[in-house]
């Protein structure tokens, strides 16, 4: 409950106030458009890591969905 409230507040704050004053103009996106500035730069490497750590640890997901789909021993 506490966590979901925290997230709701975070999202609401994000949209309504703080975020609207942040950011850049469309003509200032040269750096953000670079391949190495994407949130996931290497999809296969990210999927590989998610799968390894899903198999070996009790946590998964976060960045995206929980991953899985294996009876990993």
């Amino acid at each position: 409950m506490i966590i979901s409230r925290f997230v709701a507040v975070l999202l609401a704050l994000g949209i309504l106030s703080g975020c609207s004053s942040m950011g850049v103009e469309p003509w200032e996106r040269d750096v953000l458009a670079k391949e190495e500035m994407q949130l996931t730069t290497d999809a296969i490497e990210a999927a590989t890591d998610d799968h390894i750590y899903f198999s070996k640890e009790a946590s998964s997901g976060g960045r995206g969905f929980g991953g899985g789909g294996c009876g990993c021993n």
Binding site: I3, S4, F6, V7, L10, L11, G14, I15, C19, S20, M22, G23, V24, E25, P26, E28, R29, D30, V31, L32, K34, E36, M37, Q38, L39, T41, D42, A43, I44, E45, A47, T48, I52, Y53, K56, E57, A58, S59, S60, G61, G62, R63, G64, F65, G66, G68, G69, C70, G71, N73
Partner: protein, 442 residues
């Protein structure tokens, strides 16, 4: 002359009609990238110390970009797996014999070693298909399906995500879900929880009267916000919820039942003519539901050509596992077409409330839930790696990375009985990850 006149009249009429109908307004205003395929392929070698799990994995991700930013992604992974992880039983100062999961024969572990059934082999094939496209000017959607098959496991999943841009596209809100339905067909059938490890050919039907399969369902929900902080700085915050229900045990994991004074495995009287475990072991049992909450934040910061990628994740669940993960990468360009990328990752988790290294043979009833699976223990892990990437002569991308992953457990002294204090009770592990990737196309 006549022909030319005809063409120009037709062209003029077409233009006039289109203008009247407003069809030109439907044409995309922004420049479109030329549609085409691009391919991301990789070969992964993953190997754990002490002859535990080894995986040779081939992965491909093929993307077809259509006009209007619509993208089809098709994924294929083939894993060849050998070796197993410790089965949960404790090392002893004497040899121990266990019945293999198939129930057809036994294996014996030498003194001082974590018991591992080294006959494990498996091949895993996983496929996925995703479709993403903009919806109007500010929305985008993504839908996907996934499936994977192993000898003893089948996974089927669907997922969908919707996002919307705000604040001049500086803020993106997204929400999505994934649903998976997985079936387990363990070798030798599904063991009854917290029953004694069976003898070889314990029953006539080959499965020891066990069910041949069981299943679980997993629902994931993710809410996220991506925010451009400045020209060089991008951040993401995600909250995710995951609910699993059904058969959540590992059918191959057991616990040693130990003497309450010495802490040593309790011998099982051997009946002549039968073959089976030399000591008392029980199959594990976990609750049949699990809810997880995660908070995740990631930042990307550009500094004079170098890019810092840092993330933190907090996870908590109703099995009382809490975990913290910090992941950092620094992409360091070398000239125009090469880069080095060091990677560090720290992970720590607390134990599940039902994790215990052994059961105690003291005549008391067994607990409702118990597991000695090392993944449910209190442990820390660290990953350190280095990636080198470069552009080929043809303008494609290649990279190699080498990483070391190391786990070390923290078993509470209050869990240790008798001689357990003097021996290894957690199977620490080191693994190497080597990956070669090649991206080409377009």
């Amino acid at each position: 002359m006549k022909n030319t006149d005809k063409i120009s009249i037709t062209a003029a009429l077409t233009a006039a009609t289109c203008t009247l109908l407003g069809t030109t307004a439907l044409q995309p205003v922004q420049a479109q990238e030329e549609p085409g395929w691009d391919f991301n392929t990789s070969l992964l070698y993953y190997a754990e110390s002490d002859d535990r799990v080894q995986d040779l994995s081939l992965k491909t991700l093929s993307r077809r970009t259509f006009v209007d930013d619509r993208i089809l992604s098709l994924g294929l992974t083939v894993d060849a797996l050998t070796g197993a992880t410790p089965n949960g039983a404790l090392p002893q100062s004497f040899p121990q014999t266990f019945t293999k999961p198939s129930g057809k024969n036994t294996f014996t572990t030498p003194p001082g070693e974590f018991p591992i059934d080294d006959s494990f082999r498996d091949t895993r094939v996983a496929i996925s298909a995703d479709w993403e496209q903009p919806l109007g000017r500010l929305y985008a959607m993504n839908v996907g399906v996934s499936a994977s098959a192993e000898y003893d496991y089948l996974h089927l999943g669907v997922n969908a995500k919707l996002s919307r841009d705000f604040n001049n596209r500086n803020t993106t809100l997204s929400g999505g879900f994934a649903f998976a339905s997985d079936q387990l067909d363990p070798v030798g059938g599904v063991p009854d929880p917290l029953t004694q490890m069976r003898n070889v050919r314990d029953d006539d039907d080959g499965n020891g009267g066990r069910a041949s399969n069981d299943s679980k369902e997993i629902l994931d929900l993710v809410l996220g916000i991506t925010q451009v902080m400045s020209r060089n700085f991008l951040m993401q915050f995600n909250y995710s919820y995951s609910d699993s229900s059904g058969y959540l045990n590992d059918p191959y994991k057991i616990l040693t039942s130990v003497d309450p004074i010495t802490g040593e495995a309790v011998p099982v009287p051997q009946i002549p003519g039968t073959e089976g475990p030399s000591h008392l072991n029980y199959y594990e049992n976990r609750p049949d539901t699990r809810s997880k909450h995660s908070l995740y934040t990631q930042g990307k910061y550009y500094m004079n050509g170098k890019v810092l990628d840092a993330s933190y994740r907090y996870m908590t669940d109703d099995w009382e596992i809490d975990s913290h993960t910090i992941d950092m990468r620094l992409r360091w360009p070398i000239g125009d077409d090469k880069y080095l990328e060091p990677h560090l990752r720290f992970y720590t988790q607390t134990a599940a409330e039902f994790y215990q290294i052994s059961l105690v043979d003291d005549g008391q009833p067994l607990p409702e839930y118990a597991s000695a699976d090392y993944r449910l223990a209190d442990f820390d892990a660290i990953t350190a790696g280095l990636k080198f990437g470069w552009k080929t002569g043809g303008g494609n991308d290649m990279s190699v990375r080498l990483e070391l992953y190391s786990q070390s457990g923290n078993v509470s002294p209050s869990q240790l009985i008798g001689s357990q204090a003097d021996q290894d009770v957690y199977p620490d592990m080191d693994a190497i990850i080597f990956q070669y990737s090649y991206m080409f196309g377009k």
